[in-house]
Symmetry: C2
Subunit: 384 residues, 2 copies
């Protein structure tokens, strides 16, 4: 909802795009497969300092995009997905920092993904797209920063899958990251989160409209993707927040005695499930959830998670929310312990919220000031 | 798995069936609609005392049936679903009690449901079956008891939806129930549980094989029902039990880089989801989850839950499991408070288990002795 003048926050912003890994270059993926050229859609807010020391990379979650703040046009109905966090005087203060956000590899919002044209066939990749990982997403972001001449980030920040990217940055590019703020995230996807993703993928793949992924130009697997998204929404909330939001309210003439009658929670899920299918590609959902499932910071380190986190040089601020049962705060506790025992500079803000996983997108006021002061501290110590 | 001789426990048992509500009688459903005749499939274990004072009614959960204990034939691969709880010397001691279990109204295991023949058309009811409630299920059980000449139950016991039936019995038939043992249940379905049920129904109804419910004699909506069941299985476990059971183990030649590779949790869900479709009717799944959603003990009482529970005359033993997030122990706390403030005889055994909702079907040793001594106490005080 946009009741404020377009000039508020970062105001009007322009989507940007670069192409990386153009021939003869190609991206070597974690799987061993190669990919290129790769479009990268991104946006920037604020001004890069002459010494390029003030860049803050915002990483988005599963269904997000590069449009983190502001409006694309004065008539735009909706501001970017993290607008209250980005702008003059906001935590990611565009008077101080150069903030950028890029759509992740595998998505469908401007960066190359399964709906993009496969240069070898001239048709969409569909399921010929290679399986990608969070590490691959971060690799593409690093290439984007190379193109923009940014050697080192003041901060990399994000929630959920965005937090996984922030962690991967800190572990894989320790010299390119001064600080990282992983929010509502985990160091390795749990069987619980994998289970929910699996069911979503099954719903998509068993939708006859999926057609093995070759549905482009035809009716997409709307029902399957809607079911997958509804499952996602369940994991974003909590028992308590759902009680507050919906309780047992019901609408429909016949009350509880008809399948047409819908409890408010059903209408919420139905609406959000199906509206999602207008703005997201089902194959991207398959590839990105697969990347989520594979996410394990310790992967490739003989010493696992502990050795992975020992690579980190950045200062870390973790933010967790008490009622997040998708990536519970205890996952962050384990990372915090490893980092402390390795002598790293780590803070952990535990927000006492019963909202659930999505609190990071909703309850800014409960943690924004921690991000503000953490970033100011990092910027001060960098300048000193 | 059956590694023990058929003679163990209750041994061989015979499924039984009666027909209630034969013309001109009909069952008046809570919806105001009428239904009849109604087949009721049931089993009994032990012997009814001459004074008919020793009957224990076992109520099953969503996917259960009347086969609670023993074997149907010596070659039977599986014993009844609550076998360790029922038999000589077991908590529901068939040397003392006459135990019975009936398949619920709306199911597909012998009791009338949407897959039964509609006497008006000669074809399966499908979606012409009326929407039923937990109260209707209990009403049919009461008619069965009438037929067996059992005026009063020593105990009504069950977990999950079985616990809802136990509660409904205690509230609606206070003079017919000496004691009730509701396990892992709630007094009113929460938006969280409704949400998961809704997504399962959506998966079934958007499966093209569902055909508006008229799939009998054709390929059933297997994919939709499998997705619904997989969602169910997620809610039966807990984060901790899934970590213990599956961790991040994966199988498949290509490891994480192929959609064919499956984490153990995925294989578990897939197997359990699809094998369920061989033994359960999709329309029954729709009707029974709808009954679950509508369940609210306070419904119809101007004083809500509190007034409903004030009707109870039975002694109550609640059993809850710490990691049950589908029907969390706090739901039972609320009922316990209402009952105590109404001066009722209520006990609440809180089992410190991290297994999840399904603990009542799995972790018998953690609560069986409480059921044993509660029942002995009730029987003693009844005899006195």
């Amino acid at each position: 909802m946009n009741h404020s003048p377009p000039s508020e926050g970062v105001g009007l912003v322009t989507p940007q795009k670069v192409v990386v890994c153009e021939p003869p270059d190609e991206l070597y993926l974690q799987s061993g497969r190669i990919l290129g050229p790769i479009d990268v859609a991104f946006e920037t807010y604020g001004t890069l300092a002459p010494d390029r020391s003030n860049a803050v990379l915002v990483c988005h979650a599963l269904s997000g995009d590069a449009h983190a703040a502001g409006l694309h046009s004065p008539d735009d109905r909706k501001r970017g997905w993290w607008d209250p966090m980005i702008g003059p005087g906001r935590p990611l203060d565009t008077d101080r920092y150069f903030v950028l956000c890029a759509n992740v590899l595998g998505s469908c919002k401007g960066t190359t993904g399964p709906s993009s044209t496969n240069p070898r066939t001239g048709r969409p990749f569909a399921m010929d797209f290679p399986v990608i990982t969070v590490r691959d997403m971060v690799k593409v972001q690093a290439l984007l920063l190379d193109r923009l001449g940014i050697e080192r980030l003041l901060c990399v920040i994000g929630g959920s899958m965005g937090g996984m990217q922030a962690l991967e940055w800190a572990v894989r590019y320790p010299d390119r990251v001064r600080s990282a703020v992983p929010i509502s995230t985990t160091g390795a996807s749990s069987p619980l989160s994998i289970g929910f993703n699996k069911i979503g993928r099954r719903a998509i793949m068993s939708d006859p409209n999926w057609r093995g992924g070759r549905y482009y130009g035809q009716e997409p697997p709307r029902d399957g993707l809607a079911v997958a998204r509804m499952i996602g929404h369940m994991t974003f909330l909590s028992e308590a927040s759902m009680r507050r939001k919906f309780d047992r309210r019901i609408s429909g003439r016949e009350g509880i005695y008809a399948f047409t009658a819908q409890y408010d929670v059903e209408r919420y899920l139905h609406y959000n499930g199906y509206s999602f299918t207008d703005r997201f590609d089902a194959n991207s959902y398959l590839y990105i959830t697969k990347a989520l499932d594979a996410f394990d910071l310790g992967d490739g380190f003989s010493g696992g998670m502990q050795e992975a986190l020992a690579q980190v040089k950045a200062r870390l601020l973790f933010v967790t929310f008490a009622a997040d049962w998708l990536y519970p705060p205890s996952d962050t506790d384990r990372m915090e312990e490893h980092l402390r025992s390795a002598g790293r500079d780590v803070q952990h803000v535990r927000v006492d919220s019963d909202y659930g996983h999505d609190a990071f997108l909703v309850e800014y006021p409960l943690y924004a000031h921690h991000v503000t002061s953490f970033l100011q501290e990092v910027a001060r110590s960098t300048a000193a």
